[in-house]
């Protein structure tokens, strides 16, 4: 028996922000048109406007000093504050895990770069006169966790992950296990996509190819017990698995291992899964799962590839699935993804009645 079977972990609430909108149902709406990137017209993408943070939770200085990707993450985290508050938990029983892309170059400190360019002989005076005092914290992606912890009063276990598209599942696994092992009673799992910057494209071998990217964020609130007053989604985390392959010839074997592992806890076969969330273009996963086309879905077509936020956005997509209310909700949902870097990750969700802790 896995730890999360002995102490079940539920998804109590979710928040998203992406090109489709800010509601879970928006993920099932019409896909907005992708736009050419201003800095490279060869690429289409789904950018989003930088959100404004609620003034009652976050200091105004944060709005100015945090990168756009961090602001998206904070925006989603803030929307889970009421549900978290309703749990009335001691702050040290609230965990926080995060899937956070690095703060990409080019450096946001343009004033300094420009001043140095203008007067290269006055390198240090220009650097120090034109770099904001909190620049070090802006460069550090985990700074946003400190803001979330302070605003939402999370003093429990933490974990910060920056493993490309796999970071979401890394953060989710750590949060689930902290609750399952009774080190926390609730966990916020927060994530953001990287900003659409040149670095995102320059790191790819062939800058003209690759998926349509997007900007967005997603956050989940996990609990060990039903929350009074909180939206009860009655969705339980039923399986988690991950793996990696650098050698493409081993990809199918590793993907098969990950799939077998995620289904093992519930003793399922792939055909038992009612909804399958995989990227549209991933033929390897589609072939492995052997599922009818109609069961294969993904939020990626409507949001673009959200990198570190893609797994949590896919989970939110499953939670927001319309049609027929609770009774018609798929019993098992499997989300599986494969990063460009070689990671495989899988999450199995099960519809469940929330039950009180024993």
């Amino acid at each position: 028996m896995t730890a999360y079977q002995a102490r079940p972990v539920y998804i109590a609430d979710a928040a998203v922000l992406n090109a489709a909108g800010e509601q879970l149902l928006d993920l099932h709406g019409h896909a907005p048109e992708a736009k050419p990137l201003p800095f490279d017209q060869r690429h289409q993408a789904h950018p989003v406007k930088v959100p404004r943070l609620p003034g009652d939770l976050f200091d105004r200085k944060i709005q100015r000093s945090v990168e756009a990707q961090g602001l998206r993450l904070l925006h989603c985290a803030a929307r889970l504050a009421p549900a978290l508050r309703a749990l009335e938990l001691p702050s040290e029983r609230v965990a926080l895990t995060a899937a956070i892309p690095e703060v990409d170059a080019p450096s946001p400190c343009w004033d300094a770069v420009e001043a140095i360019q203008r007067e290269p002989d006055r390198l240090l005076p220009q650097l120090f006169a034109n770099t904001p005092p909190l620049h070090a914290l802006t460069l550090l992606n985990s700074t946003v966790m400190a803001y979330v912890a302070e605003a939402l009063q999370c003093n429990g276990p933490m974990g910060a992950y920056c493993s490309q598209a796999n970071a979401g599942v890394d953060a989710l696994i750590e949060a689930v296990m902290q609750i399952a092992e009774n080190k926390a009673d609730a966990a916020l799992v927060v994530s953001s996509s990287p900003n659409l910057t040149p670095a995102l494209y320059l790191r790819d071998g062939d800058p003209a190819s690759g998926p349509v990217r997007g900007e967005g964020a997603a956050a989940l609130l996990l609990t060990a017990a039903p929350a009074p007053g909180a939206r009860q989604m009655t969705v339980r985390v039923a399986g988690l698995a991950r793996g990696y392959v650098a050698d493409e010839t081993r990809a199918e074997a590793v993907a098969a291992q990950v799939l077998a592992k995620v289904l093992k806890a519930e003793r399922l076969a792939p055909s038992d899964v009612d909804m399958l969330l995989i990227a549209e273009h991933d033929e390897l996963l589609a072939g492995l799962l052997g599922q009818p086309e109609k069961r294969r879905q993904s939020s990626q077509g409507i949001t673009g590839d959200l990198g570190a936020s893609s797994m949590l956005t896919d989970i939110a997509y499953a939670l927001g699935s319309p049609g027929g209310g609770e009774a018609c909700r798929p019993r098992y949902v499997l989300a599986m993804n494969r990063s460009k870097g070689g990671h495989f990750a899988a999450v199995l969700l099960a519809t469940a009645e929330m039950r009180a802790e024993v």
Binding site: P38, F39, D40, E92, E102, V103, A105, P106, S107, C109, W110, V113, E114, I116, Q117, L123, L124, T131, P132, P133, L134, H135, A136, L137, L139, L140, S142, T143, M145, A146, Y147, A149, Q153, N155, G156, P157, M158, G159, A160, C162, S163, Q164, N166, A167, D170, E174, M177, K183, P198, A199, Y201, L202, R203, G243, Y244, V245, A246, D247, G341, G342
Partner: protein, 431 residues
């Protein structure tokens, strides 16, 4: 908490002391430090206000590492150090390549290295126009291969996994100065939970560049003290004035005990607990009461099923910053209050000897802690001559200490109040 027993069977460290853990350990026991004058590459007149650091000295590279592929691939220098450290740990463990297929790789990385020359490529000719990314993309062939525009921060973890053919989870950690400790803690959890049987865990970092050190100076974190020459990293001393950066990397091989014994490995130490917490206080300062630090240490003890009075040594975060050292001392006093056990603890701050390796800091510090458990020797906190009145524990000032170390904690606390503590125990075949 029940689960598989997890032991450390391989060590690898690259620091200012050199490229092997053996050299680092022997120098530290002698009471040496490797902090020396330093300036960024772009500054030739000595005017950069942060004048000392603990850089890696390539002159110390042993001949057998000359041909390591890390020196040939386009990588950030921190990734080179990390890859070499990971290779050393694997060699030290005696594992075969075939053993590593199922291994997990967990690596911590810090903020990207934004190169000034790359940034300049984005400046259009028209003054005051700011960054022009389209202009940058047209000049993409001039972007440096080893800078942040080309190197994702999880590159090291993937390079190591690719090099050794690892197919377990490959995880890049980004929790600031707690990063490598989180990597080791998460790897320990993975093995104990049964997700994998073997993991390579640690981290690598270098902030020794103009952009990052300039930013740390402006933040008030890095010291520009001149009075003490190279002896300016003084954890718990009343004249401490800020962190002194080091660079390098460290990795450990973590392994399920039964598996290690089956292949004839001799563990250095056992990892028995991991705890983490968040200050939730202020992004720029630790909780002055050390609440988050205390929560992390208590969580590690609870996770290990240990009583505080069983602890002999704390490998402190000990940054030499005015706020951290007092807060950490208070946290230790809180956790070890019963019977004033804190008076019997040995506390040691490794950063006084190899500087602050930022995201990688926890890795060599866990290595030193493991060696203390194995050898019953504790490395000193050097440059501690006048203890701060609020820092009144036994910090093993200036001289290594011989004493029994059955159980030790290794603390790592990150910017923004991201805290970790790892509990290690002397390896014994039966508990």
């Amino acid at each position: 908490m029940n689960g598989a027993r997890v032991v450390i069977t391989g060590l690898g460290a690259v620091t200012g002391f050199g490229f092997t853990w053996q050299r680092m350990w022997s120098e530290m026991l002698r009471g040496s430090h490797c902090i020396r004058p330093w300036q960024p590459d772009e500054v030739s007149d000595g005017s950069f206000p942060v004048g000392f650091a603990a850089p890696v000295d390539m002159a110390l590279l042993p001949p057998h590492l000359d041909e390591h592929p890390a020196w040939r691939l386009p990588l950030e220098k921190r990734s080179r150090y990390g890859w070499v450290a990971a290779s050393q740990a694997v060699a030290d463990s005696g594992l075969d390549a075939a053993d590593l297929r199922e291994a997990a790789v967990l690596s911590a990385s810090g903020a990207p290295h934004h190169m000034l020359d790359d940034m300049r490529l984005a400046l259009a000719e028209e003054p005051g126009a700011g960054a022009d990314w389209a202009y940058l993309m047209r000049r993409a062939d001039r972007v440096h291969a080893g800078g942040s525009l080309r190197q994702a921060s999880d590159r090291l973890a993937r390079v190591i996994a690719g090099h050794f053919g690892c197919e377990g989870p490959v995880v890049n950690i980004s929790s600031a100065c707690a990063g490598a400790a989180q990597a080791i803690g998460n790897a320990f959890q993975m093995i104990r939970r049964g997700e994998v049987e073997l993991a390579l865990a640690g981290g690598a970092d270098s902030v020794l560049n103009l952009d990052t050190m300039g930013s740390l100076y402006l933040l008030g974190a890095a010291t520009s003290e001149q009075r003490f020459g190279a002896d300016l990293c003084r954890p718990f001393d009343r004249h401490r004035s800020g962190l002194v950066a080091g660079e390098g990397g460290g990795f450990v091989v973590l392994e399920r005990l039964d598996r290690a014994l089956a292949r004839g490995a001799t563990p250095y130490a056992e990892v028995v607990g991991y705890g983490s917490s968040l200050d939730g206080y202020k992004v720029t300062a630790p909780d002055p009461q050390g609440r988050g630090a205390a929560l992390a240490m208590q969580a590690a003890l609870d996770d290990a099923g240990l009583d505080p009075q069983q602890v002999d040594l704390i490998n402190a975060h000990g940054t030499s910053t005015p706020l951290n050292d007092v807060a950490e001392t208070l946290a230790i006093k809180t956790v070890f209050a019963r019977d004033e056990h804190y008076r019997r603890l040995a506390v040691s701050a490794n950063k006084s000897q190899f500087g602050h390796l930022i995201a990688a800091a926890g890795a060599p510090e866990v290595i030193v802690t493991a060696l203390s458990c194995r050898e019953d020797r504790i490395t000193p906190t050097v440059n501690l001559h006048e203890p701060d009145g609020d820092c009144d524990l036994d910090y093993c000032a200036n001289q290594a200490v011989h004493r029994s170390v059955e159980v030790a904690l290794s603390n790592s606390f990150g910017f923004g109040g991201l805290n970790t503590s790892l509990a290690l125990r002397k390896y014994r075949r039966s508990r």
